[in-house]
């Protein structure tokens, strides 16, 4: 009746990134309490070695789909892409944190250890077919984030943001768990693939409907879709900017990967249940996110509301999954996610290269006239704002084009109309920042901003890569990238 799982070499290839991260986190934890190895330098060595080893390991995850330990762990294109993306972002964030004033607090034994563990939770989540594993991975990532948010650079404001995120996040986790439990109770299986098989006959059963909707609420909370977005502005604003950049990007990668597996797989036969809910979330997020971003003066708060709006655009593409089984919406989501991640990382890198310990809440006024003082930073920020606003020739334009195209192919005209209106509103606050940087006189004295370092910095390297890729993805690369996403999309799309 029971057989012990067969541990093959391809299991180790697939599990390697997670195992490396966990091992590295243990080393960092022990270093933190050791006599000779607790210095920032030695913690950094461990953290960098771990993250780079994990990146290499993630790059060689087998591309063909296989499952290990009864579906707890999956190999395949989506798992590999998701793991690689999360690890690459983590490495970029570590590079930026290194030169940021919060770097000394970040590279401490316990913080680095928690960081590596929470990244491993994210990896677990993007490569699992099993509800229990998904939940454990989500909690690993969430609990790590709660703590790292409030206690890297502890002050009253960041602790307040962390507590808000913690309390609302626990409620959302409970809701998600209730949803999972109902799905299990109704279908008798913890496996997403098992749920797909069981659903057609019982898709209209109350337990299944409620289970799917509660799952949607839980995921919507983590994606900060309106009306589950209350925590996001406070958390984004109060966290050290590196952590904000990490959270704004990796959490979306993680949750959207799971959402793809759910909505194009497990829930694909019951779209009439979740489609109306997802539609409402998408519309509200695009409208409320963009309108609230208009009135923000704090730069990080503005980026937070803009990220809520971008979650809305991605939800549009999820809505498009409701009527089609082809890979187009899936590729649109993945492409949009790629552009969003690049541009967010870049925008937060600009913020990080201007912040100082004394002035770590930049306002839009602080950036007035930036073009005269720091022309390259202003130019990068301009590229990112253009891309966020969806203007050619940047990646954001192509991303929005693919998303709206996927929605139009599925006759979601109203949704696209609202999306375009939302984009028009968003142009106002994105371009306002550009205008202020280029055409306004400095309001605040520049002494408050971090001076240019003069030489090569890792933050500048991340920034340069983000700018170049954003432009390339908007001009010559999109066809190539979409071509490469075909395999992933066909892997996810279950007919």
């Amino acid at each position: 009746m029971f057989s012990f799982p067969e541990i093959t070499s391809s299991f180790y290839y697939t599990a390697a990134p997670v195992l490396i991260l966990v091992a590295g986190s243990m080393v960092a934890l022990l270093q933190g309490v050791s006599q000779g190895f607790a210095s920032r330098r030695s913690i950094e060595v461990t953290a960098w070695l771990t993250i780079f080893a994990a990146i290499v390991a993630a790059a060689v995850i087998p591309g063909e789909q296989a499952e290990f330990l009864a579906g707890g762990l999956l190999s395949g294109n989506l798992a590999r892409t998701g793991q690689f993306a999360i690890l690459a972002i983590a490495a970029c964030v570590m590079m930026m944190m290194r030169e940021h004033h919060t770097g000394a607090s970040f590279f401490r034994g316990e913080v680095a250890s928690i960081f590596l563990m929470l990244v491993s939770g994210m990896l677990v989540m993007v490569s699992s077919d099993d509800l229990v594993t998904l939940f454990v991975g989500l909690e690993l990532a969430s609990i790590g984030l709660y703590v790292i948010l409030g206690y890297v650079q502890p002050n009253r404001r960041s602790q307040e943001g962390a507590i808000k995120y913690f309390i609302l996040g626990s409620v959302a986790a409970a809701i998600l768990l209730f949803g999972f439990a109902l799905l299990y109770a109704a279908t008798g299986t913890m496996r997403l693939s098992g749920i797909v098989a069981a659903l057609p006959s019982i898709a209209n059963h109350g337990w299944v409907r409620l289970g799917a909707l509660l799952t949607l609420v839980g995921l919507g909370f983590k994606l900060a879709l309106v009306p589950f977005h209350m925590w996001a502005p406070d958390a984004y604003e109060s966290a050290p900017t590196g952590i904000t950049a990490f959270m704004a990007t990796t959490v979306k990668v993680m949750i959207l990967t799971v959402a793809l597996r759910l909505f194009s797989g497990a829930f694909s036969t019951m779209s009439e249940v979740w489609y109306p809910a997802m539609l409402i979330l998408a519309v509200l997020s695009m409208v409320v996110g963009n309108i609230m971003a208009l009135v923000q003066t704090n730069l990080k708060r503005m980026l937070a509301y803009s990220s809520i709006a971008h979650s809305g655009y991605m939800a549009v593409a999820i809505c498009a999954l409701s009527t089609t089984a082809t890979g187009l919406p899936i590729r649109a989501i993945l492409f949009y996610l790629l552009t969003y991640v690049l541009v967010s990382l870049g925008a937060f890198a600009v913020v990080m290269s201007l912040e100082t310990a004394e002035n770590d809440q930049l306002t839009i006024d602080d950036l007035s006239g930036l073009a005269k003082k720091r022309p390259w930073l202003a130019l990068s920020m301009t590229v990112f704002m253009f891309s966020f606003g969806g203007m050619p020739p940047t990646a954001g334009f192509i991303g929005k084009f693919f998303v709206f195209n996927a929605a139009l192919t599925n006759h979601l005209y109203g949704l696209v109309f609202i999306g375009i209106i939302g984009s028009a509103i968003s142009l106002f606050y994105y371009l306002r920042l550009v205008v202020r940087m280029y055409m306004a006189e400095p309001v605040a004295p520049f002494g408050a901003l971090k001076p240019a370092s003069g030489g090569f910095t890792l933050t500048a390297a991340v920034l340069a890569i983000a700018v170049v890729t954003t432009v390339l993805l908007g001009t010559i690369l999109p066809g190539e990238v979409m071509e490469r996403l075909v395999d992933t999309a066909t892997e996810v799309a279950r007919k």
Binding site: F4, P5, A70, M117, G121, N155, A186, T189, I202, H205
Partner: protein, 182 residues
Amino acid sequence: MEALYLVPEMLFYVLAGLILLSSVMVVAARNPVTSAIFLVVDLFFIAALYAQLDAHFTAAIQVLVYAGAIVVLFVFVIMILNLKPEAVRGIRFSVGEAVVFLITLAGFVIVGSELAHTAPDVTTSGNLGVAAIELAGGNTYVVAMRMFTAFLWPFEMASVLILLAIVACVMVAKKDKRVTKV
């Protein structure tokens, strides 16, 4: 003899009522120690519910771990912190609270109406019946075998999760001299 069939069902409703009652008391009690004691009572009744479902192992673990260990730790923490009973605050609803209450009530009605169906009739290989579990060697054996075969990966990740939670707790609880007021 007909009436005997109703006993398990009646037992369930009695237990469910007691669970709800003690849960409300956990929140409503003004003295933190009283809250903790009601939590113990609550968890005991839930254990009884598990036992009624023939999940004897889970019932035992529920009593040992939750009622036994965790709530006792709660009580310790309450005593160490020396929490006083909350100052009496009259029950007054603001308009906002009333709206929230109504929305919650509506949510309960919707959830309840969705849940008020009998279990869907799905037979999957994943589910063992009570008889099959007895045949396979009993509750404890089956749970252990499942945990270390099919659910090995989440089980190992849960251990990482607990480690992270411990480190996180120490970080949060530790007095940090760097905390600034800004």
